[in-house]
């Protein structure tokens, strides 16, 4: 019984949330248009959360992802103001993401600082770089090429309803692509299995010949690139960049991974479970907005749901002694 509750309690809760909105909003919630909207709205969070999963598999964290997302947007925007083509600006931002991620990995694995402390420090550093590069201002308008911001507005047209086009957004497809890639890496490669091994028992993994230091370093690289990708998606969506715009992503991404962990077999972070966590958070935002629920009440409700899901999972674990 406890086992069942632990495995499927969260899934049942998620289904209940969807049913609730479907009933309360019969005309608008279960429409394809609304779900395409939701998919686009959660695409940035999905990329951050899914790549965050890579380090959380080892029991680590990356608190710097929000700052990195802001920094990546600013790097691209500043590159654009200097007349760089879109591919070069995007490439520079992703390179910064990779370097920043590897630097986190270096501090955690080679130097041996606790991830919480190391990435808290780099959070501050990357945020400082973002302020320095942008001069604290929002970069927008003619400085942002239409080809860049257009990516976040476009997609594959599926058809039309009510005289409005139905579009499968590029942002959604990008998030799905990143999710698929990380799923492959974590679930289908030796690299991924070793990361889970480190998460299970780092000492045992090292004794078994796993190169723990190198793997941890690389894992943080994934998270850095993911954060930078999300930052670029955000910058494209708002057609501007400012040094704080990504800061909301970090805590929400960690919350999504935790929410997902309550669904997986041994309470481990899993990519698809993380994605489910992201979807729930997105659905809550979308549904509660349509139901007129006050923005501040919305925050309370979302937090309470996370507490509830993790509590049920904890009870389930105690009941099964697992």
């Amino acid at each position: 019984m406890g086992q069942v509750m632990r495995r499927y309690g969260t899934a049942a809760g998620m289904a209940a949330i969807v049913v609730f909105f479907a009933v309360a909003l019969p005309d608008t919630f279960l429409t394809l248009r609304n779900w395409l909207n939701i998919s686009q709205q959660i695409s940035m969070l999905a990329v951050v959360a899914v790549t965050m999963t890579v380090v959380m598999v080892m029991g680590d964290f990356d608190l710097s992802v929000g700052s990195m997302a802001s920094l990546a947007g600013v790097v691209a925007a500043v590159a654009f103001t200097h007349g760089w083509p879109v591919w070069a600006g995007v490439g520079a931002a992703l390179a910064v993401g990779l370097l920043g991620g590897l630097f986190n990995g270096l501090l955690v694995s080679v130097v041996g600082i606790l991830p919480f402390v190391a990435t808290l420090a780099t959070l501050t550093m990357y945020s400082g770089f973002a302020f320095l590069m942008s001069g604290g201002k929002t970069i927008f308008g003619r400085d942002i090429p239409a080809a860049f911001s257009g990516f976040a507005r476009g997609g594959i047209t599926l058809g039309a309803t009510d005289g409005r086009p139905l579009v499968l957004p590029w942002l959604t497809l990008l998030a799905l692509g990143v999710t698929a890639a990380i799923w492959l890496v974590l679930e289908q490669t030796a690299f991924g299995r070793r990361l889970y091994g480190i998460g299970g028992n780092a000492v045992a993994a090292r004794l078994a010949g796993v190169k723990v230091m190198r793997l941890r370093l690389l894992a943080f690289g994934f998270t850095g690139v993911g954060a930078a990708t999300a930052g670029l998606m955000y910058a494209a969506r708002v057609a501007s960049a400012n040094p704080t715009q990504g800061s909301g992503l970090m805590l929400t991404a960690i919350a999504a991974v935790f929410l997902g962990m309550t669904m997986s077999a041994f309470g481990q972070p899993r990519v698809l479970a993380t994605l489910a966590g992201v979807v729930v958070l997105g659905v809550m935002d979308n549904g509660l907005t349509q139901l007129h629920v006050d923005s501040y009440v919305r925050d309370v409700v979302v937090g309470a749901i996370i507490v509830l899901a993790v509590s049920i999972s904890a009870f389930g674990r105690r009941a099964t002694g697992g």
Partner: protein, 327 residues
């Protein structure tokens, strides 16, 4: 036969789904839905107000006044604060468009929420700006007239010094809303043959603008040591005016009759003006008026009216020692 089985299965699933949905709908209607039904009055105009900046004092004035006017009009208003997250403004715009609101009011730079404006335009939902900025996809932006505010204070200065004397200007051209103020002040002073603009300073605003303005003003005072060699300081916003005031007082030249004016009438400026010192005037925007006028503008358009202009200005008020402490 296989196809038939799948077909039947699909039908069965549909029946199950419909049964569950119907049952759930009934249960919900009996319990929770009444709460929502109470807020969603039938036939009322549904208007969403979306801002990332609700925590800022000015925004609260707009929103409260907007809600008060909307209540008189019998509207169903949904105020959404995204707590600084501009991308979330786009998401929430998409949500309320999908929900079928009659109008959206935003309080954010339209250049940053183009995707949301497009979603609203596709669904033919009109979007209004409440001190937001202009955009082809915004029906009208309701705001204060920066040209008029600068005219108020520059004419105040010119009249106070009898159309004669040396004036120091503090302007800031990189920020368009402030740049227009400087343009007007220059034109006004240029129209008085005996007024001479001896310095036009662009202060460094990275520290808030007061400290650097004070330093610049100290240098100007040192370069013009004769009493009466500076008649007035005109500042395009309050911070440089406060910095200039500090410099004049620190130099012990507060009794030379140097007239200082600012714009915005922030609390610190109001305090300085109320004491009756050199800082004599500023201009207050009517935030509540902007909120009320936005509601009236939305009502006009929803009632079938067409606006020719895409900016609606709300009058501002000159603040002097006579009314600086009024609320």
């Amino acid at each position: 036969m296989g196809l038939q089985a799948i077909w039947n299965l699909g039908e069965v699933l549909d029946v199950i789904r419909n049964t569950i949905l119907t049952a759930a709908r009934r249960a919900l209607l009996a319990t929770v839905a009444t709460a929502f039904a109470a807020t969603a009055a039938l036939a009322a105009e549904k208007v969403a107000v979306i801002t990332p900046y609700l925590a800022q004092p000015g925004t609260q004035f707009y929103v409260d006044a907007f809600k008060a006017r909307a209540a008189e009009l019998g509207w169903d208003v949904n105020v959404i604060d995204t707590a600084g997250d501009v991308a979330a403004v786009i998401s929430r715009m998409e949500d309320v468009v999908n929900q079928g609101v009659d109008a959206i009011v935003i309080n954010v730079d339209p250049a940053q929420v183009g995707a949301g404006l497009q979603a609203a335009a596709d669904a033919k939902v009109p979007v209004f700006g409440m001190d937001a900025g202009t955009d082809p996809l915004i029906v009208a932006n309701v705001t204060s007239n920066g040209y008029a505010m600068a005219a108020e204070t520059s004419v105040y200065v010119a009249n106070r010094i009898g159309g004669k004397g040396n004036v120091v200007m503090f302007t800031f051209d990189p920020f368009p809303p402030v740049q227009v103020r400087g343009v007007i002040a220059k034109a006004v002073f240029g129209n008085f043959p005996d007024i001479k603009v001896i310095d036009n300073v662009t202060p460094d605003v990275s520290d808030g603008g007061i400290a650097d303005s004070r330093a610049k003003m100290e240098a100007i005072l040192a370069a013009n040591p004769e009493p009466g060699s500076i008649s007035a300081v005109w500042a395009a916003w309050d911070q440089p005016a406060l910095g200039a005031l500090q410099a004049i007082e620190a130099a012990g030249r507060q009794n030379e009759g140097i007239v200082i004016t600012g714009i915005d009438a922030n609390p610190q400026a109001r305090d300085a003006i109320a004491t009756g010192g050199n800082f004599e005037a500023s201009v207050a925007q009517d935030f509540a008026g902007i909120g009320r006028t936005t509601a009236d503008t939305v009502a006009y358009v929803l009632g079938g009216g067409t606006l020719k202009q895409n900016v609606v200005y709300v009058p501002t008020k000159l603040i002097t020692a006579a009314n600086a402490t009024d609320k």
